[in-house]
Every structure is written in structure tokens, then in C-alpha cells.
Amino acid sequence: MREAQGGGALRAESLDREGEQEPMKKKRWQNVVAGTIPPAEKEKATCKVITVTSGKGGVGKTTVTANLASAMAMSGKKVCAIDCDIGLRNLDIVMGLENRIVYDIVDIVEGRARLKQAMIKDKRHPTLHLIPAAQTRDKSAVTPKDMVMVCDQLREEMDFVFLDCPAGIENGFRNAIAPSDQVLIVVNPEVSSVRDADRIIGIIEAEEKGPGYLIINRMKHEMVERGEMLSQADILDILAVELIGMIPEDENIVVSSNRGNPIAMEEDNGSTSRQAFHHITRRLCGEDVPFLDLAKKPGIMARFKTWVGARAS
């Protein structure tokens, strides 16, 4: 109880309560919200806060967030993933950390837990952390200011913070966008997803968080060849944003999600989707990586391994 009171009071209003004021933190928070932190100082703190959004639901935001966070941690970076979908948490189950939850983001914001208490350290990769969403509250429990405050604390220790944005353009979206340095937009090659992505791009630019970077998820190369699916060129022509990655439709992603082991964490079996996630993380670090040729099927050994894996289960 004493611990929670001492360090956990991060909510704006609660900073004014006696005995819980930490003068240094309060000043920094005020500066962040007022936007008066000079750009030079921001560049020194090399942490990048990245929001994964889409507008439309079910396109793969959570899967992408889980895999990008895992791939980034595997390359040695200190990463924290935050599930911003309050009331409908699933980043934890996709990452296989659902049994480790004690506190969540709302507990941090309302002062019942310190940041370190709520952050789950992944035992498979110690530099990977997760702050889960609350399951029994809704998106009004957290405000954009709260998210900025939490991310501000994380910037001091992490190299990357990934925010899994909920679907839609309301509170949850606003919360996830508020602290971000870079926005990744996940889109499926089909009409409703592209339409919603366009709306999101417009909103992000209006909020001065743009330009977003595009991830096309669930590409089916054979359908694109036949002309029965929107191609990468079509989507880029319509949305006019830069592409940062393309992920093919892959049954293995469902399998790995079932096991709670993001596919990016599995050993390199030649799976194109696993490679795609790792390439995106390299691009996020500034490396210029050529895009995979999705037409190329994984080699015979990789397919044999996948077949053996399927038979074994």
C-alpha cells in the first residue's frame, strides 16, 4: 500500500495531493504537456514511441505490435509494448503473457501501482516488456495526458515503446496517438480497410503526428497476380504514404498466436512473415532493407519443417 502511494501517483490531479508531490517529475510533465521541451532535449532521449493503428478493426494491429516488439527485443533493444485497448485487452494473450498480469495501465494512471510493478518482463527475452490494458474498465479511464505521462517515464529507460491502438477514431485512438513520435498504419488489401486507413491518415496529419507509414498485412500474392486483390502499387497510389512493410497471409501466424509465441520470436525457418516483421524493425532503426519478393515461396526445407511442425501438434 505504502509503495503504491509513494511512487504510483501519476494522474495529473493526484500530483497536487500532499505528500505525493515529486517536484522534478511534475515539472517535466508540465513541460511535456505544454510542449515547451526544446527539440534538442527530445533528440537526446533516443527512445521512439510508435503507435500501431488502422481505423478498421481486425486487420492485424495487435499481431503486428506483438511481433514488432518481439523482433525489436530480439535485436537487443529495450522495448515496452502497451495495450491501449482498454476493456478489450488482447496484446497479452497474443504475446503469451496472459498469466503474468498483476497490474495494468489503469492501475498506473490511478496510482495503485508503479510503472515497474505493472510492467511484465518477458522471460523469453528480458529486454521485452508489456503493460497490459484493463479488462473491466473502458477507454474513458485514461486520458491522452495520462498516456503522455506514462510514455514520458518509459522514455527514460526504453529504446522503443509500441502502442497497440484500438480500432476506431474515438477516445482509445486519441489516447494512443497522443504520445507517439511515429505512427504505423496497418491496412489489408481490401476496400473497407483502405477507406478507413485514408481517414486515419487524414486525422493523423491534422493532429501533426504525420506522415504515417504503411504496413500492408495479409497480402496474398497469388490473388494479386490474378488481379483479384488490390496490389501494393494500387494501395500506395490511393493512400500516398510511404510503405514500411508488407506481410503475407500466413497460417503460421495463427498457429503461433494459438501457442502464445509471436512468430517473430520463433527460430528462422524461412517463413516470409517472420522475415517481414524483422525487416520492418530494421527499417524502424533506420536501416534501408529491400522489400521481400512475396512471390518467392519458402524453400523446401522450410516447408518440410512447417509440415513436420503441423504433424507433431
Binding site: 481490401e190 485514408d198 481517414r199 490474378r226
Partner: protein
């Protein structure tokens, strides 16, 4: 066999249909001016221009032109010049 079917089939493949439908619908979505407003603007433009120049009211078109970076209000106003009138009379 799918490629053969797509040749024999008279309608275009759905990918290109999807692209053109999206372009149409996004032009609409991006421009959030109601069509009635455009008609009012058109009438007012005609009113202002006819004070100085003569024009064919039926041929005046006012519409929105979208690019990825901006939206423009475009008015096309064919003018009736003195030469045109003389040619017609002749």
C-alpha cells in the same frame, strides 16, 4: 486456369474495380463540402462575373479537385467574347 477464365470473362478483374471504386469514394470522403453549398457558390460566382462580363450560365461548372496534398475549388466559366457573338451572327 484462372488466367484463361479472366481472358474469357468479359468483365474486368475485381482488383481494378476495387481501385476505381475506392478512388471515387475517397474523393467524396475527403471533400467534406455538401453539394448544396457548391450550387450556392456557383450561383454567386455567376452573379459576380455577369456584372463585368457576359457568360453562358448553363456552361459554368464549379467543382472540387482533390490531390493528395490539397483540395481546390475549381470554377470553369466559359465566356462569351465579342468575336464569338460576331461569328454567330454571320
Amino acid at each position: 486456369m484462372a488466367w484463361l477464365q479472366s481472358i474469357l470473362r468479359s468483365r474486368p478483374a475485381s482488383g481494378s474495380v476495387a481501385k476505381s471504386r475506392l478512388q471515387m469514394v475517397l474523393t467524396h470522403d475527403r471533400g467534406d463540402l455538401p453539394p448544396a453549398l457548391l450550387d450556392e457558390i456557383r450561383d454567386e460566382i455567376i452573379e459576380v462575373v455577369t456584372k463585368r462580363l457576359s457568360l453562358d450560365k448553363n456552361k459554368v461548372i464549379v467543382h472540387l479537385a482533390h490531390t493528395t496534398k490539397e483540395t481546390r475549388l475549381v470554377a470553369e466559366i466559359p465566356l462569351q467574347s465579342a468575336t464569338t457573338r460576331r461569328r454567330r451572327r454571320a
